[in-house]
Symmetry: C2
Subunit: 236 residues, 2 copies
DNA sequence: CGAAAGATTGAAGAATTTCAAACGGGGTGG
DNA sequence: CCACCCCGTTTGAAATTCTTCAATCTTTCG
């Protein structure tokens, strides 16, 4: 029986979209026109509806997924079955890589948060591309080392900081992303944020209230938060 | 003023040792004789005494370090200055890679735990090797994705499991390493273990006592622990 | 409009840290 | 070779942080 999957389009039929898809992704955007075409021809694009799974833990991995449009929730289950949100993918991000170079089995779950368009490159095609264009490997190595760094930093935060500090640091990083403005929009629900930060929705709610009480932030409608005192936030 | 550093030997003068050093490392051990020689000629070996730093956070990164003999403690400081032990390197492991492919600045600290021999490959030499032998990149990609997986799994554990469970899981993984025997030797002090697991030495001490009380383990001399009930341990 | 999911708040309880004190073992210098 | 000292370890008690459970409120979305 078929598992839930998205609607498939052959790459050749959507060169316009494909072009944008591949060139969006940092690991490919240094290549020349002809090389890009070659990659486009090995890729196909798939649309996933909200709630559909791109892959699940335990499944055989056989492709790299490049996000073209939409958002994807990557989460894990711990040995004892509790869920943790690992990251959210946006256009330009990619996933599936862990299993590609590993034993080939996914360790995490990837779920479309809304209608999402992804480009798919099959494992065998990717391996050929990597050997043919070694600079792609260097790009992926760079991306991996970034992610590894991020992941280790996150681990260190869990290991050494209390919840309120982790929340404050998260808010501060949102500021970096939306430069200039001191108003951020939470990129996820507070429930997901709690999962991402390794705590409960109740605690997130309370700690945000505390931060507001202390005059460091101001919560507004629609997940918007104004940062009143960034320096103070980082001292929490 | 010179910072603390190890004693330097030119690679050419130690072919015997070099050979062992490079071939020990999984990312190179698939290469042919001649290629191995080429790498050996670009590497040099350095000895660090106990307590010496191989590198520190904030320093410019310019080399890959392959551990030949000894042990290296990799740790991070959180934004608020608290230390966390990230991993311990043993012969065959390598480090320095994060900064190599990233912005070039170390995010962690590497300290020799005892007299330690490392092979060093300079950044520029490595880049050349990677472009010349694309299979090395694939090996490193594989190693990276393993580490990333490990790191994310660790993060998920911090996010979802309580201390006692994390300790139990750690012990269970030690069993995997020392197969057959049900007696493990803690690879580090309980103080370091606490740092690695994101807790305090007091809590480690207490939780181990609890596990012993419950008949799941038996603590012996010299960091040795006998696992009496592996299944029970994983249910904690 | 109404159901379902997310968010907030309070109160009780559990888990963990912190501080303090005492103990032990391994390594070093005499 | 022994004694001493330092550092890691253990244990206790108090304090803190966080979770859990339950009830209520709000928002979203069909």
């Amino acid at each position: 029986m078929e598992k839930t999957h998205g609607c498939i389009h052959e790459g050749e039929h959507h060169k316009g979209t494909q072009d944008k898809c591949v060139s969006l992704v940092p690991i490919f955007n240094h290549l020349e026109e002809g090389q890009m075409d070659e990659i486009m021809n090995t890729a196909r694009s798939i649309i996933f509806q909200k709630g559909e799974m791109i892959y699940q833990a335990g499944e055989q991995s056989d492709a790299l997924y490049l996000v073209n449009k939409g958002k994807i929730r990557i989460y894990r289950l711990s040995e004892s079955g509790k869920e943790q949100l690992v990251r959210i993918l946006r256009p330009g991000d990619f996933t599936g890589e862990l299993a590609l170079f590993n034993e080939g089995v996914h360790e995490s779950y990837a779920e479309a948060m809304l209608e999402t368009l992804v480009c798919v490159i099959k494992r065998t095609d990717l391996q050929k591309l990597l050997l043919k264009y070694p600079t792609i490997s260097l790009k992926i190595l760079s991306e991996f080392s970034n992610r590894l760094d991020q992941s280790e930093k996150q681990t260190t935060r869990f290991a050494t900081e209390k919840v309120e500090t982790r929340i404050a640091m998260f808010l501060a990083e949102c500021i970096d992303a939306e430069k200039d403005s001191h108003e951020i929009v939470l990129p996820m629900s507070k429930k997901d944020l709690a999962s991402y930060l390794g705590t409960t929705p109740e605690t997130v709610s309370r700690k945000l209230a505390d931060l507001e009480q202390d005059g460091l932030i101001k919560q507004k409608l629609h997940k918007k938060i104004e940062i009143l005192d960034l320096d103070g936030l980082l001292l929490v």
